[in-house]
């Protein structure tokens, strides 16, 4: 019995080595992986393109056109995530008449992967948002709103890890302080937690516990505020956290011509991007990974 055991073990060891050789070869070969992140923010119920006589945004935007773009990019790279940084609701009569039903239906058809919650998404109350959830086939990620005592309890996630081509992408979401901005009868007993502390917690969990290769923060805090306003914007959030690769922002309707590269608390680069509002633009960030140690040791290059 013991001898038989030994033989089997040695067989195992042989197979082990063979496979080991194979796998070492396959892993050490030059292997690049490519993740594409597409994002919108503050679409504000803008379903149709702006009319041709519009003073600022003539013929821009439109969900049906966005669909063509997203489909084209997904064909080019199937490892694509589509995200939104909040304020999906409010801005056209589509919201006033249908309460966000069409917005969520179209975003589901576009195969959005995740969104965070903006202040205007509370415009019909937590109940109004809850009522539209059956139309949404994507995740609501919110890390600093505690919905425990509201109808939204269990319907949002503090973070989510997506795996695309073996790359682990951790996403969390932060929202703006609701008091003074949203009527209390709309947000009810939603508790707002400090977004910087929460972002520090979330990035630690996603890095150390979930071992993510890429960490993305969906933010509806706003891009940047004057210091006297004592409000937390994305640039401040970036400077007081670490391990976040990309902050996708919203709220301030900031049209950034290209993503901002800023430094985190450890002096490393963080990208902050926001693409204005009303579905006029889509942001695209491509992340390239390599397992060639020589390339990796040179650090990452950022081309914006």
């Amino acid at each position: 019995m013991k001898r038989r055991n030994f033989i089997q073990k040695s067989t195992a060891a042989t197979a082990f080595l063979t496979l080991g050789g194979l796998s070492l070869e396959s892993f050490s070969s030059n292997n690049t992986k490519h993740i594409t992140i597409l994002h919108t923010n503050d679409t504000h119920s803008h379903i149709e393109p702006f009319p041709s006589n519009h003073s600022r945004y003539a013929n821009k935007g439109g969900v049906a056109r966005r669909a063509t773009l997203v489909e084209r990019i997904r064909k080019e790279n199937p490892n694509t995530l589509l995200l939104d940084a909040g304020d999906i609701f409010q801005g056209t009569p589509y919201f006033n008449f249908y309460g966000g039903e069409l917005e969520f239906k179209l975003m589901s058809m576009l195969k959005y992967d995740a969104v965070t919650i903006g202040n205007h998404d509370f415009d019909n109350g937590v109940g109004g948002l809850y009522a539209q959830l059956p139309h949404a086939k994507f995740d609501f990620i919110s890390s600093n709103y505690d919905f425990k005592n509201t109808i939204l309890d269990t319907h949002t996630k503090p973070y989510k890890v997506f795996i695309k081509d073996g790359i682990k992408i951790g996403i969390f979401g932060v929202g703006i302080k609701l008091k003074g901005l949203v009527s209390e009868k709309n947000y009810k007993e939603t508790k707002y937690l400090n977004p910087i502390e929460i972002a520090q917690d979330m990035s630690r969990i996603l890095k150390d516990e979930e071992h993510c290769d890429l960490i993305i923060c969906l933010s509806h805090l706003g891009y940047h505020y004057a210091p006297e306003r004592q409000e937390i914007g994305d640039l401040e959030l970036a400077s007081k956290t670490k391990d976040i690769d990309l902050i996708i922002g919203g709220h301030t309707h900031t049209f950034l011509p290209k993503p901002t590269v800023t430094k985190n608390s450890e002096g490393e680069n963080v990208l902050v991007n926001q693409v204005g509002c009303y579905g006029i633009n889509v942001g695209r960030i491509d992340f390239y990974f390599d397992n060639d140690k020589n390339k990796a040791s040179k650090g990452k290059s950022i081309i914006v």
Binding site: Q8, T11, A12, A15, F16, L19, S23, F27, S28, K33, N59, K60, V63, A64, R65, R66, A67, T68, L69, Q90, P93, Y94, F97, Y98, L102, K105, L106, M109, D123, G166, G180, S183, K185, D213, L214, D245, L256, P257, K258, P259, V275, I280, N281, V282, R284, I285, D286, F287, Y288, F289, D290, N291, K295, A296, K298, K300, S301, I302, I303, V304
Partner: protein, 250 residues
């Protein structure tokens, strides 16, 4: 034993992958405009169509009629549209407030910037109401001390523009100061005043800080836009005049 072998293999595969991880080496970022060059995807257009038809029908519904153009620029310290907005909000909200508190509102004050669009001579449609008030702001009543009331008056005088106020307030800027009456009465220092405004302004919007921290705050649960729509539906012809409720002799 077979399970054991599989376990060893699995562990080894995980281990060898860990030894050779992928590192982020390059990031590229750009902005993609959604323009006419992108053809709309048909299935999206057909999904939108039934919603669009219904929204357009609702927006084209005729609510009332105006024999004159209404805008916010036809007076110096008052305007036809501002007077209409302030008066109709009072008319719609005062009964609600009275039924709950047995008190009456003293006057309305809104902001010039809150009048988002004018209304041309002719039919008034639902779309006009939405353009005039695209936001979800609600009417609130703030109970003000006379100190805060005087801050409000000073604000009006300093701003020197046609912030909408209802006909119940009569303010004349004079060479030596101003004349003020509310409901034809002079100000009584011991009294508090009930002012109708929007929750946006009550929260300090347009620097109307005198509305913050009032003696009491009463919510009406009545949206400004709904007050406008209800008023238009109840009045088949809109009559509004510039009546000098806020004027300057200098």
């Amino acid at each position: 034993m077979k399970k054991f072998i599989i376990l060893i293999f699995t562990l080894f595969i995980i281990f060898s992958c860990k030894n050779d991880p992928h590192h982020l080496v390059r990031i590229e970022g750009k902005l993609i405009p959604i323009s006419e060059e992108l053809n709309p995807k048909e299935v999206f257009e057909t999904t939108i169509e039934p919603y669009k038809v219904k929204v357009e029908a609702e927006m084209n519904a005729v609510l009332s009629f105006t024999p004159n153009e209404l805008n916010r620029l036809d007076g110096k310290l008052e305007s036809s549209l501002g007077n209409l907005m302030a008066d109709l909000c009072y008319e719609k909200a005062d009964p609600v407030f009275n039924s709950r508190t047995s008190k009456n509102i003293d006057f309305t004050m809104l902001n010039f910037g809150g009048i988002r669009a004018g209304i041309s001579k002719g039919d008034i449609t639902m779309e006009h109401a939405f353009n005039l008030m695209p936001f979800e702001n609600e009417l609130v009543v703030v109970e003000l001390t006379t100190d805060k009331l005087y801050e409000l008056i000073n604000y009006l005088i300093t701003e020197n523009r046609a912030h909408p106020i209802s006909k119940h307030l009569n303010l004349e800027i004079t060479k030596n100061g101003y004349n003020l009456k509310i409901n034809n009465q002079p100000i009584e220092a011991s009294k508090t005043y009930y002012v109708l405004t929007s929750d946006y302004l009550q929260n300090g919007g347009d620097n109307m800080i005198f509305f913050k921290n009032p003696v009491n705050l009463y919510k009406t649960d009545y949206k400004v836009r709904n007050a406008i729509i209800d008023y238009f539906k109840e009045n088949d012809t809109i009559k509004v005049n510039l009546d000098g409720r806020f004027r300057s002799e200098i």
